[in-house]
Amino acid sequence: MPEVMSSEVVVIGGGVIGAAVAYYLSREGAEVMIVEEDDLAAGASGACDGFISLQTKTPGPHLRLAMESAQLFPALAEDLEVDIEYRRCGGLLLATSQDQMKELRARAKALKAEGLEVEVLTVSDLKELLPEVGKEVKGGSYCPLDAQVNPISLTLGLAQKAQEMGATIIRGCKVENIVVTNNRVREVHTTVGNIHSRRVVCAAGVGSNQIGKMIIVDVPVLPQRGQILVTESREPVLKILVAGAEYLGTKANIQALMPADVEAAKLGLGFTAEQTAAGNLLLGSTREFVGFDNQTTPEAMNAIARNALRYLPWVEDMDVIRSFAGLRPCSPDGLPILGTIKGVRGFFLATGHSGDGICLAPITGKMISELVLDGETSLDITPFSLYRFK
């Protein structure tokens, strides 16, 4: 590899966001280089479930972004060489108390007002979608547009397609410095050499804070650990995505939907379940701030299993074959951080997706591509600016 390289755009990070940005940029004919410290999908994108959940998004710009993103998936599934196992399967959000039910009803109303199809269901309505639910379940809300995807295939598929269209992917390449002169990005220094570039996209996930420091900008992204259990593979037994209301509570910080149990609240426990195309059930998940520790813990595994039995008692006889943990790049309000930086031209942020990275990857890639190449976006992304925190 030559000591000094150059690229029209350098994308820092080979996760789903970096790959999506590179894909959409390459599609527009831009010269792109992805630099990845470890390997593609080595971070959060390779250690998460495949929820494309719309009804768990906050009404307003966040929901609109997710709805736009969801619409891009079918075309992506067509365009990518890799089978991304995309399926519009619908999703359920279950309530275990009347208070939660009340909250879900109110939310369904708000979501419907924004044009999202959501239905409030009683326990007997649920029976058609789910054969058996726990006795505690009081009902739920159903969104037919919720979908699932294989996050690793999606990341690898986007990167591979970008590469076919001309993008360069450099693995095992750590960014050490970003040179800014006259308020403009000029060069990216990495462990494998220097790259001349006037445009840099930071899609570094939990590493974004570190990257931000290089241009003296505080990007408030913290690693938030999420743990998931994987069961043995079975014939299709769960056709839709299922989550508990508490998942939404811990995700969107909604007080009325927080877990009542102290230990569960401490773990940020919320129930999620999906069956992958390979047949395994992925059961989640937790939300913990423990720095960069991505180990699973016995306490969380017990808690996730206990919680899963509350909602879907029939999983009792299934074998858990492994567990994994990933670090979500979490922003203070749980919404992504997208856009430019004041005072440093040519630097773009596409990070802080806080567990929505898979769902929001296509729209993020598209918006950042537009922003990098045209300087403006077809959708208003100012609500996701870094400066909302100041």
């Binding site: 470890d38 390997d39 593609l40 999908a41 080595a42 390779g46 690793i152 690898l156 591979q160 992917i169 693995r171 095992g172 259990l229 994987v230 069961t231 043995e232 593979s233 390979a278 059961l283 699973t296 016995p298 595994m301 017990n302 299993a305 206990r306 919680n307 899963a308 039995l309 999983v315 009792e316 006889d317 299934m318 074998d319 858990v320 074959i321 492994r322 567990s323 994994f324």
Partner: protein
Amino acid sequence: MSPDIPGEGDLWRSSWEAAVDGAVAVVDCREEIPCNPCEEACPTGAIRVGPDICAAPRFDPQACNGCGRCVALCPGMAVFLLDRREKSGFARVTVPYEMGERPVEGEEVQVVDGEGKALTGGKILKIRALGGGAPTLLVTVRVPESVALKVRGVRYRLMERDGFREVDKLPSLADYPLCRCEDVPLERVRDILRTGLKSLPSLRRASRVGLGYCQGMFCQSSLRQELAEATGREGEEIGSFRVRPPVRPVKLGFLGGGNA
């Protein structure tokens, strides 16, 4: 007739005696290896390995109901069933059978000992599968009591009846699964290596090798070898990937019981 018990008289005497009332397990496990599926398989607690997983199993014939689950599940094929109800000088022995050609009830087969040597001929009385996706069949044969404790298998081959069969074209090595749990062929792994993935965990993520039941306990070394060959690196440089808990499969009900 007194049993012909090769050097293990006392170990099997209780099973031998209990077998006059019906089928009972005979545990022929001498290896002190980390293994306990027999204990998990037994619905009545007749077989116990205990907390030291390397200990040899202890067996209580009084508690055994002759269900045969241990016979089907023992990976070492070290358990069989003995039934001396007939009291006519003949016993019924049930052994595991995992060969491709399914035997037929009522046919005569060759009965063999642990070294594969033919003992005698015997008639197949019953063939059953325990279900649950387990491919092991339980074959019950009627043999003279004098050899009953030596029986470890039956030989049932088409070639003995119809002469030799020519084998069709052998599949190429590349089509064989490198990872059996996830059924990933070697060729798929090589395809992925050609895309330039460099680390073992990435190769696992992209190929799913090592993400199944065994978590790489069986396939990780093959995967490392492929990676070493593709990248020209040494094994130590490549390292290994972590096995994520639980190290072996555990029921969700147990994990959620709060005491796992």
